[in-house]
Structure formats: C-alpha cells, structure tokens
Amino acid sequence: MAVDRRGFLKFVAGVSAGVMVTPIPWKLLDDASIWTQNWPWIPSNVDGASTYVSTVSKLCPSCVGMKVRLVGDRPVRVLPDDNHPLSKGGISSLAVAEAQMLHSPARVKRPLKRAADGAYVAISWEEADALLAEKLAAAKGSLACVSGDETGSINDVLSAMTGKAGSSNFYLMPSEAQPAAKAVAAMGGEGQLGYDIENSDYVLAIGANILESWGTVIRNRAAFKATRPHGEEPAATFVFAGPVQNNTAAGADQWVPIKAGTEGAFALGIAHLLIKAGATADAADFSAFARLAGTFTPAKVAELTGVNEDQLKDVAKALLKARRPLVITGSEFGQGTGAASVLAGVAVNMLLGGLNRKGGLKLLPVAGPVVDGAMTRAEMLGKDFVAYMSRINAGKDKAPAAMVFYEANPAYALPQAAKMAEVLAKVPFKATFTTFLDETAMLCDLVLPVPMGLERLDDVATPYGSGQALYCLARPVAPMPAHVKPAGDYIIALAGKLGMDLGVGTWEEVLQAKARAMGADWDSLMDGNVHVSSSTVNAQPAFGAGMLQKGIATKAAEGDYAIAPVHKLNVGTAKTAIPPYNNKTIRRWELQGKELYVAMNGATARKLGVMKHDKIVVSNKSGSISARVNIFEGVMNDTVAVLMGLGHTAFDQFSKGKGENVMQLLTVGFESGTGLSVWNMAGATISKA
C-alpha cells in the first residue's frame, strides 16, 4: 500500500489523537514540573542525626561561647550556648556563620611557598618543614614572632620558641589589652582589668564600643539584655560617649558625642566634677590626681572633647546617684588608645569606689606561663609591635632575619598599613601560620595552613573585658582538612628540631598545664564546661597620676576633619575578612560595589559643599582613601565615620577589592610617659574628587 500524503496526514492525526489518551503528554508535563523542583545543579538536603557540641569561638574576638550543631559529622550551624558565660544565649554576627566559614574560598588548603617569580606554589609539608627549620636556624637570635591570638596558650609556645632562639621579639597584635596592662603597671597594681557589667546599674562606656565590638561583647550584651526587660523601664542605664552614634549608642539610653581620642579628657572632666562633689579615694597619689583633675574644668573638657557641658554634668550627677556605677574607657575601634585614657577611666571608678566592688572594676588573676622560657602575660602585653615596626622603619632597630606570624594579619591591620607593609618587606624571610590567605600571607615566603577553631583543640583564657577570670577549651568538632596541621604540636615539634627544649611534648600537655594553672578541671573542660573564678587580685593601686599627666597631654590631630573608624563585628576581622554569609549585613550606604561610603552629618557636608553620593578623597600624611558621602546625623561635626574592615586586597570574592582600608589613614604617635604607640586620633583633609 503506497502511503500518499493524505494517508500520512491521517496517520499523524491518528497518532496525535492516540497520544492524547496515553500518559505521554500528561506524565511528561507533570514530570517536567517535578524536574524543576529537583534540578541536579541545586544542592540537596543531606540528612543525618543532629548532635550539639559546646565550644568557644577562636575566630570572633569576643571569644563567644557557642553550641555547634552537627548533622552526621558536618557542622551546619553555630548556635548560642545558654550555659557559656561568654554567650549566655547570644551569638555574634561573626561567629554565627563560622560553620559556613569552614568552607570559605579564602582558606589555605596546603602549604604554599613563594617561588622565585613571586607566584605561590603548593609544596608538601616535608618541604615546608625543611624550609622553615633551615630559615629559623639561620636566623637564630634575629627572629621575630607575631601572634594574632590574644587569649590562647599558643602564645606560651610561640614566645618560648622565640625566647629560646635568643630573641625577645615576641609580639601580640595590638589591642586594648596592651594599654590596659600598661595602666595597671603604672598604677602599681597587678592582674588584668575586669569589668563587672552584669552587676552594674549605670554603665558609662567612654569610647568603648561595648555593645558591638569591645571586649567580651556578647557577654556585655547579655548583661544589657538582662537589665532591660522587654517593654519595661530598664533596670540599668547605659551611656555611650564617642564621636559616632554607633551600635552601642543605638542601644544606650544616652549618647554623649565626644571627639575621637578624647576619652581620657572626658573621664578626667567627670573626675573633676566627682571630686568637686566630694568624691575621694584611698590612694597614695590622690592629691596629685586631684590637682590634675582640677585642671579639667567642664569648660576645658568641652573645648577638648566637644562635649556639651550640661551633658557632662548630667553624667557626673547620674554616676554619683547610681548604686553600682561602672566606667569603661576604650577605643571605638578596639585599638590605638593610650594608657592614659585607661588610667583616667580607672580613676573615675576609684573615685566611685568601684575597684573590686560588685558591679565595678576588678583586678583579675592571670595564670603564669606553662612552657619553659615563655613570657608572662604581663611581659607579652608590655611588648609593642607597632613601636617595634616604627623603630625598624626609623632605622633604630634592625629588621629581623626571619619573622613568623601566627593567625596575624599585620599587613592589613596595622595603622599606616602601607608603611607597615614596606617595613615587612625589609624582612628577608617571613612565614605565617594562617587559616585564610590574607594580606600578610601574600607577603610571606612560606604559608602554613592551620585548622580553624572548629577543627582544632585550643583554649581561651580570660579575654580582656571579661568580668571574671575564666578558662575554656575550643574542641575540634569538625574533621580537619587533609593538608592542614594544628600549629601547637607543629611548633613544639619544630622547636625540638631546632634543638630547643620547651619542656612539653605535646600541645595537649600545654593546655592541661594551663588548665592546672587556672585551677580548672581538665575533664570538665573537655566536656565543654567553662572554668570560672570569682577571685580578684587584692591590691591597693594608686592613680598613676604622674603617668596620666604626661599621657593625657593630647596633641591636636592633623587636618580639619577627624576620622572616626567604626568597628562592626559583622564585617569580620583582619583575620577573617568579610565572611561569605555576612556580606548582606553590610548596610546599603556603607558600601556599594567596590565603593566605600563614609558618613558625615549634614552640617559637615554643607561645610564641605558635598551631598550624599558625592565622591570625596580623605587624605593625610599617612595615606588617602577615596569614598562617597553618606549623610548620617549621628556623627559629630567635622568628623567622618569610616567603616573598618573593608579594602581587603587578599582573601576571596566576598572581601577582596571592596571599599578602602581605614587603617591607611591612622597615623602612629607615641604617648608621652609610656611610650606606647597610639593612633586613635587621626585627622585628615577632605576634598571633592
């Protein structure tokens, strides 16, 4: 039978009709839409049993306690830990995505060596071991070591290794713990300053960004939470003094605008009013202090700090009225402040009878070193890395032959960042133990990957700002990636290879020794419990009036406009950069694409003749940054607020090339008396771009 066209058409018609009464079109239509809910390129849920492990964050500067939820062996969430004194049911915006950061694209996955052409090549650990041992052996006494871990016993190991190499150049990255330690020393006291925020009914934070980044911030905020029942009148008053209406000011009952870097003068102004009202303290140099404070009249303080005199008097009055007032001085951005402002703050507490009093200022005991030849904590905090770098820069000190960094990112995080990078370049050999490929790693000859806090055994001993001495362990909850090595054991072994005897065999021994020194029970710590001690150091410290007088003589900042760096934990730290999950929390007018926005108030903008979104250049002798203008009325006159934590030149797509690094603009000066490097008073000129 020949098939003609008509027959064929009929056949097609038959097929068409037939197909409609088969599952083909309908099943395909349905399955196609089911296919859209199961696209193979979209990740799918992987189930498993949930377990929860209590640990502490080594990533977040607040040392927040946390509970990690694992599904099978995968950490998927970081949750607050109700039982941890540094969490109390809260979590920081940085630590909360720590489980996700385990898979950050910026992680270093294997040891890297800088080749002759400047590129990095992956090498084996054997090769890395050999190279490091060779260079360190060659460097001998000319070794410097920098640690970015402020609370861990790794510093005992690192400082012991540095010491045994015949060098005293072990440094911690700058923080507020150093000026505080200097202040305690100047007062003739001992121990570490602790702040009993929980029991205070009036907390005056001068500069200290206590509800966002200062100290054990999640604990601070738990205290804030506890004193203000939802929808009721607060049981404690929080007052913030600083140049920007930052997150702490947003939570505080009162914001007292004062210029950046004038915290000490403001505190002395308060002291002046308190003494006038009859306050006194049982200290040897009270009269010297009273004389000094006497010169800080409200008018003078108003001139120095830009504070409204009435507001100053109100605060002093409220402090006198409060039952358990507490004054905390600090820097809005957690560094760069001098010992004088701490001394002035402590002085106000002493005048208010707040030393070692409930809801006041405490002197917390500090555990001694547990590794042979390690520095004491006081010694460590006495070392000033920025000053060291400045000395090298000025030719007063020789650049070391080798520098070892441990979880530190000085190439990004130091003031006058560009200058500091130049100084680092003078060091012939640099090695870094790091989790992420940061700016410092990009300058190093050898990059050694270390596990993240969630993957290793580590410890936290009484972070600065804590109200009590405490000790806890970070326990490994996630499997360690194949090619990273924990630094503790590695350095102990390395020291052995170099013929140094640190007196310990393993990293765990170090931690056990530290636990003993802190009076903690190891087994309990390993169960995730925190050792807390309520003991304080009994001391009768003086005001340190002499030192204070020298240090308080603030010099005016360069330029017509003040720089106020704004520190927010959600933007990450120098060590972490912007965590992938935190990009969305950066506010719209803080960063747009690659452009930084800086904030100023309307009056300042009018004075400059700029409007929102206008491009400006902020510059001083240290450097310059270009940015766009955002108008925010919560900034003092003649001040620009600049968000910290941007302008990374390393890390990954979530951080690199976004905005500018405010550290470029911060100029290092030296405090008279203590010689401490300070950079909390930066000025700049602003021009339209």
């Binding site: 089911i34 859209t36 809910q37 696209w39 979209i42 990740p43 849920n45 992987v46 189930d47 498993g48 599904v71 995968r74 998927v76 969430r77 949750l79 607050p80 809260g90 979590i91 920081s92 915006s93 909360v96 489980a99 996700q100 385990l102 898979h103 694209p105 509800l211 966002e212 999640i218 905020r221 738990a222 804030f224 939470k225 203000r228 939802h230 929808g231 009148e233 702490t248 947003a250 939570g251 605008p257 927010k568 934990l569 959600n570 992938p580 999950y581 935190n582 990009n583 969305k584 929390t585 950066i586 506010r587 719209r588 747009q592 108030n601 009056a603 009325e633 919560g634 990954d652 979530f654």
Partner: protein, 254 residues
C-alpha cells in the same frame, strides 16, 4: 476583613530599644534557612534576605539625632495581602499556628505576591543559588534549597515548629501545647540582646502574649488591616510613629 484565627498563633515581639543593629539575626537566618551567600550584596533590593534590619532615624540634625534598628521578618499577617493573590495556591495561611506558608515547588514565580506585600518580606530567586565550592556541606537538612524562579520568604523557621512537635510526641507531650521556648526562630535564638521574643500570642503562659499587649507595642502598618503577627515595642514615641503612616495631626498610641 476576614482574619484567619487559630488556637495557636505564633508571633514575635521585637524590642526596638534593645536592637542595636548588629546583624547576627540576619546571618543566623541565612545559615538556618540555606540562603546562598553572594559576592556583591550591594543591590539591597535584589539580594535574598528573609530578615532585614532597617535603620530608622528621627530625622533630626546632630546632636538631636537618634537612631533605631528594626528587624523585619515576614509579618505573618492574619489577613495576608499576598495569599489571596497567588494564582496557584503556592502560599497559604491555613495551618494551626498561623504561619503564612510558601511552597517552592508549587510557585510559578509570577511575583504577584511580592507586589502585594508592603513589607517587602518576599524575595525572588533571580538566579540559581550558588555556594562556594564545598560550602554546600554546611547546609542544614531542614529546609529545601530553592531553585531560581520561585518566591521565598521567612517561614518563622517553620521546620523548628515541626521538630518541636516531633520532640513533644517522642517525649509523650502534647504537640499542640508547646511550652514557651520549645519552639523559637533562629533569629530570636541568636539575638545577643534578646530583642526578639517568640512564642504563642494566644497563650498567656508565653511571654509574647503579654508583650503584645504592652502599651509600647504596635504593629507595622496597622491601619492597612493586614493584622500582622509581629509586634514592635519601643518606649520612644518617634520610633512608634514610624511604624505606621500618620497624618501630621494624628496621635500615636502608647
């Protein structure tokens, strides 16, 4: 206005005087609900965020300026503008507890619900979600990952409600009578300031029941009668005034 009422009504009371805008809730939300990170999150109106923290200003110049932060989850309206408009019943308010559901495999992505919602609580998957290599290992098994082309929104961590019920069943308790705290959202759990309180608005044993009745409590855009299940508290009059549109001569309560 027909308002859906339920025996149990999950709701929030957010104290705007306690929120300092740190963003922990936003990050916790993303990690809990498997939202993908994004390299450039500058375009805030094209970036997926079930919970957004808005910045409120009293609009006065320095030094009279005051600032407040307002976390905005889905308001889980009692009379949701979004539900009735959905042509395919991908979103509904029908379950005990009163959470507005969003079913991703049903959604065709017409975005009518987004046009309807004045809170901008609804987000569209403009592109397929992408995690940096390996980061998908940190996804939770609790919430399905959404492909491009569908709308999503805050679910009050509904999966935690399911888990709380399962736990109650396993322990022989009544899954319909969860105690205060048995079920909380990820944002409320994470907030270090305790600004967000979560619970049953109909149960006097739950804290939110009382907070929602505070003289400082009001809801967003109340006069539109969406009848939301999220209450905001502030002792500051200017903050309360920004929770709804008021003509100059109108007073605000509290």
């Amino acid at each position: 206005m027909e308002i859906k009422e339920f025996k149990v009504k999950w709701g929030m009371a957010i104290d705007l005087d306690k929120c300092t805008g740190c963003g922990a809730c936003m990050v916790a939300c993303q990690a809990e609900n498997n939202l993908a990170p994004i390299a450039d999150a500058s375009n805030k109106i094209k970036v997926m965020n079930w919970l957004v923290v808005y910045e409120l200003s009293n609009k006065k110049p320095f030094p009279e300026h005051d600032v407040a932060y307002l976390p905005r989850p889905c308001q889980q309206c009692g009379h949701p503008p979004c539900v009735s408009v959905c042509p395919v019943v991908a979103t509904d308010k029908n379950e005990e507890g009163g959470i507005v559901s969003q079913i991703y495999p049903r959604c065709i992505g017409c975005r009518y619900c987004m046009a309807a919602c004045p809170y901008h609580a609804r987000y569209f998957n403009w592109l397929d979600p992408v995690w940096p290599e390996g980061m998908e290992k940190a996804l939770t098994p609790d919430v399905s990952v959404r492909p491009r082309g569908v709308v999503e929104k805050c679910s009050f961590c509904h999966h935690r409600f399911m888990k709380a019920k399962d736990k109650a069943i396993a322990e022989g308790r009544d899954p319909e009578a969860l105690a205060d705290g048995d079920y909380v959202t990820s944002c409320a759990e994470a907030c270090p300031n305790g600004a967000i309180v979560f619970g049953d608005l109909n149960n006097p044993d739950h804290q939110v029941y009382h907070l929602s009745r505070s003289k400082y409590a009001s809801r967003l855009l109340e006069r539109l009668h969406a009848n939301t299940q999220v209450y905001y508290l502030s002792r500051r009059e200017w903050v309360r005034r920004q929770l709804d549109n008021y003509l100059d001569n109108e007073k605000v309560k509290g």
